[in-house]
């Protein structure tokens, strides 16, 4: 009984935590972007503008929830839910600290990859169901981009799997007690971060919604909370990728003095800030450059990384 109550508490905590962090990130991102671009950012609502999140929520919830008459209604409504559901489901496999985590799955890493590959449907179907040529172009771009970058994302993680000898994230964290995998798997880390940015389609890889060319891409026709789902889904994705980078390459909860969960949260927030810094720094490439870079640079590099990691592990027995 106590065990069941505990696991329900963990599930609710993880869900609430992920959504709260994602919502809070709206404010964090705008303030940090402003800081790096020498502006002030939202600072009017509440202390330091902290209540801006609440104001945004009220605004987005009370907006008219409109489905265009030319849209495919069922698919149009379904699409924004998919991205949030798949991103939140992925949090199930993340080990936050020893004993804290929703599920201890033997194929945890594959589960994450599977969920992220299902997330593609959200943007692809949203673009198609909108019945709008700009949305369709955005959806097509999203499908091509996410399909390509998924390949390297999976391959870049296989080095970690070889070193840890398991797909289980808990075992992977425990295998990093002596040395974090960011040292032997530095290439894997770089590829995973780049692929992660592409998977969450944030700048510099936000071509599916490139507002200078495609109005707003796949979510042009969305308003109100349906648009909010895409918006929050993106931030949940950023949090998820940061948490995974920490788990897979930076020792997860491992760290001196402070309790494990604090280490995990500290490292994760550092990587979230890195994601925002990327957005503040880089320009957007052309779409063919993006795909060319993926297949011509990332694929060979990740295959070479896999080959060398395998050979070294085999040689050391």
């Amino acid at each position: 009984m106590c065990e069941a109550a505990r696991s329900i508490l963990v599930v609710v905590g993880v869900l609430a935590g992920a959504i709260a962090i994602a919502a809070g990130l709206i404010w964090v991102e705008r303030r940090l972007l402003a800081l790096w671009q020498d502006r002030l950012g939202p600072n009017r609502v509440g202390p330091f503008g902290l209540l801006q999140v609440m104001a945004d929520m009220i605004k987005i919830m009370t907006k008219e929830d409109w489905v265009p008459p030319f849209a495919d209604r069922a698919v149009f409504v379904l699409a924004p839910a998919i991205i949030v559901v798949t991103a939140l489901l992925s949090f199930a496999i993340i080990p936050f600290a020893p004993g804290i985590g929703v599920v201890d799955l033997n194929v945890g890493l594959l589960f994450f990859l599977a969920m992220s590959s299902l997330g593609v449907y959200s943007v692809a179907f949203a673009g198609w169901a909108s019945g709008n040529k700009y949305s369709l172009l955005g959806g097509l771009r999203a499908a091509a981009q996410m399909l390509s970058y998924e390949v390297f994302m999976g391959l870049s993680l296989m080095g970690v799997v070889i070193l840890a000898g398991s797909f289980n994230l808990r075992t992977i964290v425990e295998a990093q007690e002596d040395m974090w995998f960011c040292i032997p798997q530095f290439l894997g880390l770089v590829i995973f971060v780049i692929a992660g940015v592409a998977e969450t389609h944030r700048l510099p890889f936000d071509l599916p919604e490139a507002e200078t060319e495609l109005v707003a891409g796949y979510h042009t026709e969305y308003s109100g909370m349906k648009f909010g789902m895409f918006f929050v889904g993106e931030y949940i994705g950023v949090t998820l990728i940061s948490a995974l980078v920490v788990t897979l390459f930076f020792g997860g909860w491992n760290g001196p003095v402070l309790p494990p969960i604090v280490w995990f949260l500290l490292k994760t927030s550092l990587f979230i800030c890195l994601f925002i810094l990327l957005r503040a720094t880089f320009p957007r490439p052309r779409f063919d450059q993006l795909l060319g870079f993926g297949w011509k640079v990332m694929l060979p590099v990740s295959l070479a990384n896999l080959l060398v990691t395998g050979a070294v592990t085999l040689a050391r027995g």
Binding site: L110, L113, A143, L147, E150
Partner: protein, 173 residues
């Protein structure tokens, strides 16, 4: 676990039937994805989590995305729906339908006589799957990879950019 098995089987059967009868291609694809997810759940219940994860990752996540991609690019719209409607005409499906029902009857007859294996066996780990793939089934893996290579070469050939026709010059032999 038995209940999970039967529920996901039911979902798979219903979703697959809907795939066949949908007029809109994208709706049919959505049901096909649901069907694949249900099959993945069946694999999981049967004690093969690795295969279940791969089913979602490869079939539902990668191959179906390609289908969606191509159908979105073609964007058949109303013309495609009319063609699909014509296919649902009884005079077209009744022949194959009767033949398929005969096959189904034979399958049920064969299965009824058999002792059915338990639905939840021991869990098969990723390591066991890999050992089987690169041990006794190595030939199958190699054949599949040759097939994929042939597909890759074919796709490269079809997608190759043809060089613009040059004006015939006198230097050419």
């Amino acid at each position: 676990m038995n209940a999970v098995f039967y529920i996901s089987s039911l979902v798979a059967v219903i979703a697959t039937a809907l795939v066949v009868t949908r007029v809109n291609v994208v709706h049919a694809l959505l049901y096909l994805i649901v069907s694949l997810l249900a099959v993945a759940l069946i694999f999981f219940v049967l004690g093969a989590p690795f295969v279940a994860a791969l089913e979602v990752l490869i079939y539902a996540g990668a191959i179906m995305v390609l289908f969606v991609f191509v159908i979105m690019m073609l964007n058949l719209g109303a013309r495609g729906e009319r063609r699909q409607k014509a296919l649902l005409n009884p005079s077209i499906w009744i022949g194959p339908g009767i033949l398929a029902i005969v096959l189904l009857g034979e399958l049920v007859y064969v299965l009824i006589g058999q002792e059915l294996p338990p639905t939840s066996g021991s869990e098969v780990s990723p390591k066991q799957v890999s050992l089987a793939l690169f041990g006794p089934y190595a030939l199958g893996v190699e054949l599949a990879s040759v097939l994929l290579l042939a597909g890759l070469v074919g796709a490269y050939h079809l997608g190759r950019r043809v060089a613009p026709p040059r004006a015939p010059s006198k230097e050419d032999p």
